[in-house]
Amino acid sequence: MAQLFKPYANSIATMSLMIAAGTPVLLIVTGSLITRSPANTKALVPIDQPVPFSHKHHVKELGIDCRYCHNTVEEQANASVPATEVCMSCHSQIWTNSPMLEPVRNSYETGKPIKWTKVNAVPDFVYFDHSIHINRGISCNTCHGAVQEMAITWKGRPFSMAWCLDCHKHPEKYMLDISPSKVGSHADGEAGEHGEGHDESHAANVLTPREQVFELYRKIASGEKLTEMEWRLSRGHTQHLPNDQVHAGYKRMEEKGINVSQLSDCWVCHR
């Protein structure tokens, strides 16, 4: 009787076993990689908008403050997306015939709002508040990436729960103290106005965490030279901080009475 199994049958059997054992593992690993990849999170994927609005042009090249459009970011949970009239406050004067701005003019004339596609979204069961993050000195770029470099806006970070929790468990890594004082001719500038009455114990040129957030963008817009830390933050790079920054973070947490264990309670964000 001829051999039922040829010698290569062994190899096939081994392979089959390996595939049988490996496939589920592979599937799980692939699946989790896909869910964490930009394919799912849409992080770093530029999103088409009805108007190809460039943050790079408006923030970096023209030097418009974040708060000109996102005007409630310091006070309220929502940062606010500007009304058409905010766009038109400039564009009724400049680029009045630009075909790119046709939807804006159209909206202004007809009263129908522009429908922007949401770029940064948290799920419905997450309750996020911009104002408290800004007031604690968390820079816009920490979560949104280098917005001032985006010609078409994308989501700068994956916005996954693990990513949120990284900061909520280790806020010292993100509560940077990198632009502690005002410089140059801007000592009486806008940042100063916002600081007034807020914390009188601060010396006139020492900035509160909230003011530091916008001092960074002022520097970016005015083309001032950024310190290394500022540059890193402007890029949204906050990993591997030098020790002095981590210490500064701890100090700020102490000052502000931030309790890390409380900060990662479920009901801080979910309710």
Binding site: N40, T72, N78, C266
Partner: protein
Amino acid sequence: MGKSNSNQRDGGVKIYKGLDHFEAPEVFEPLAADEFPDRESLKALPRRDVLKLMGGAAVLAGLVGCRYQPARKIVPFVQQPEGAVAGVRKQYASAMVKDGYSVSLLIDQVDGRPIRIDGNPLHGSTLGSVDSKLSAEILNLYDPDRMKNPEFRGDPTSWNDSLLKLEEAINSAERGAGVAILSETLNSPSLNRMAQKFLKNYPGSKWYQYEPVNSDSARAGSRMALGESRVAVYDFTKADVIVSIDSDVLHEGPFSIRYSRDVASRRNPNGEMSRIYAFESQPTTVGLASDHRVRLKPSETLALVQVIASSLGMPGATSATLPASVEQKVVDAAVADLKGAGSRAVLVAGGHLPAQVQAAVIAINMFLSGGSSQAVTYAVDPQPLAVDQGQSLNDLVGAINANQVSTLIILGGNPVYTTPGDVKFGDALAKVKLKAHLTSHPCETSKLVDYALPSAHFLESWGDGVAYDGSYTVTQPLIEPLYEGRTSLEIIGKFVGASADAQELVRETAKGFGDWNELLARGFADDAKLATPVTVTANLMSSLAPIKTSGIELLVLPDPMIGDGRNSNNMWLQETPNPITNLTWDNALLLSQKTADSLGIVAPYDKKSFAGTPYYGKADMVTISVSGESLEVPVWVNLGQADDVAILHMGYGRTTAGDFGTKHSEEKGGGFDANKLRTSANPVWLSGVTLKKSPNEYVLANTQHHNTIDYKKEDRDREIYKSTTVTALKNGKPFGEHAHEAHHSDRDYNEFGHGTEASIFPGNDFKDNPKDNYQWAMTIDLSLCTGCNACVTACQAENNIATVGKQQVLRGREMHWIRVDRYYKGTGETLDKNNPPIIVQPVTCMHCEQAPCEPVCPVAATVHSHEGLNQMVYNRCIGTRYCSNNCPYKVRRFNFFHFSQRADNVPVLKMLQNPDVTVRYRGVMEKCTYCVQRINHSRIVAKKEDRLIKDGEVATACQVACPSGAITFGDMRKPENAVSKTRAESRNYLMLEELNTRPRTSYLSRVTNPNPTLEEAH
């Protein structure tokens, strides 16, 4: 408190959830503990089908989790309205009509939609609190069954056409002859102005007013006693002794919320406590708050009042025989107290009582104080055009039947349904040539008229009104009308050629009340001074006509939740249990045990047919016959009700009232129409009623046995409810004379010797972590709770709690995060089935420091926060329900079906949801969060200002709503905080403390102030 028994704790007091709990514990206990009381019906399913279904369900459940987040749009404004910020909550003052008078409210508005109604703390009508009906009014706004556009005999038409036709009819009649307008109680000065103009322009026209719940009787009594119509305004803060004569003044009427707060202010044992006697035909919130509760038939109230009058030595008072159910010594004690308190004593008569009783009560109050009572003022009725509404209705129907009415415009109300049966309003309506009805919902009346016109909700319209204290209130719109609704003011304004803008009409009226913007911001103008001296008619007491009565007496009262039927389609109110009976979705004929026995009523738990059927069983039905009408209704035995008195609530048995209000079938509920039995001569109280048991049965959805805490008989002496008297409290007995357990203020040890150190969860000492800023705690004062259920509805509105419908209520699946347990209190193994002491206890998540729910969750979906909150994480929950099983307080609610589906599918209901709280999906456990959204909001506000949250800054929804202020909430780490003070009080206790769960919600034992000459009632 009964006689002490050395073997039993607390004098052998036992509490029972219902008669079944007492009579048939062997039936009650296992079934109350059963999560699936109708598990017999499940057994009908073959095992293989069960496995198939389970497999299918598992697959589908897995797939439910796999969804891409859809791309969402951001739609900003074109022109940003001033102050409009997405997601920011703003409050505006407004006002609505409650029982004929306006009450001042604060409305929360987010993104242009009103989402919540609170009381206006500045105004005396609400003092910042609400009752269930006011909270639930927000749902009436978003009710998808509302009348949406004008209809001409069922076909859509336009407002222009409708008004044109009506104006033509009005103008074609000579000087308006034959034109009649029927409105609800005319409360608005602006509408009154328009009405007067209308009547002047068309002198032949007539204006009528009718509402089924009115103050006709009180007005008649006032005329009898004082010679003119006055309204009684009580000041219970100054009342040392309150004698309630069948009154529900803490739940019904325009000032009920204020009165609850005022009464509560005098029920604090640390201050000077008032004493309350309640003589009543059925247990009411007043009776529950009282020190002595005595049963009495409505017809016997006159005799009682006469006895009190003659005992007080009132000149001209004729003596009467004391009703059999009232003990002489109780009256003696009450009279002695009244005498002692003088001008600080007050009698309160129920609005449904006959005029003689009302008059006698006024006379006694005047006599007690020598004409200057501190506790009651007889003020001029602030109503601009007050009439006797029963008379007004009779006049109208008389005119119609005499063919004197050719055009009838009905402004609001639903007279075809709400008028007494013998009026036959529907038949009369057919005789009117042209009739129109302005209505919030398609209803019985709008079906029979030519023009059915949609009315605007008060949150959509400009208006004004007068409050019970005479102050002028303004109603401002919080949202553009959702549909084509308009108000009475706009319609009558149009007929008289006034401005089409209702705001202008109101502003003109408001000219005399100071700055318009200030008026809008506050919501009201200062009180008018309406109190002028009055004198009592001579010989009043000797000329009181006796009340003729025979047989069983029937009271037809507004439902505590549904009212006269205007809230029929409000599912929140349908599902909020009736405060005393705990009935939902239906009304029933309430009878005392003795009366039910005499009719041969068999309790559901005693039925042979009970075996194998779901626990709730079926209620026997009876046929009520009175003055030629009869109605078959199910019976509910209401312990504490007077014998030979039958009570049926109105508002049910609707034939056209939307999805939830209309009585479709026994399965969906809907109740029985009590208006049929009423007559125009006796609209509320009828005697000579015959009851006959019918062979039929009816399923009633009652929640009294749901979420029972201690169902095992041997456990029943757990002191989950503690009470004492003010004398005992002063003697250091905060939990009653016979309680042998002292109070453990430090809470480290309990009676079984377990302390924190003995815990198997070491390190859970939340109190002492120096890094934590706050430790939240709640205290509920059982002395103040009247069981009105305002907290239940307020919580439902705040926390997006779904309603489940009658069938699911029957299975014990109602979703309320806070419930008010009602117990009957027995002594030893006995229960006074005639008049048991009735106690109420709000129960919500205790936020145990050592929560039994937490260790049993396999997915850590319920965990503890560092501020002492027992967190429920919906997105982790997989629905094992182990937590609920292990919760000794039974406060967790499981979403068995997609109960929030309706909110998902009906667009207009999406607007109702509170954006700060997740709308939960099916298969998820949920429970009280201590309103964590409010805590988080305040925390962020405080942090931005670099300070800590102040005491009182966070108030939970139930706390804000509670009319008597029974709930205290706050951070218990600081001893100076209100909640810490309540926790330090000697009468503070923890529910089931012996389980060592260390709950954050604690209770203050109930303190009564009984007359020392009488045995304590409860």
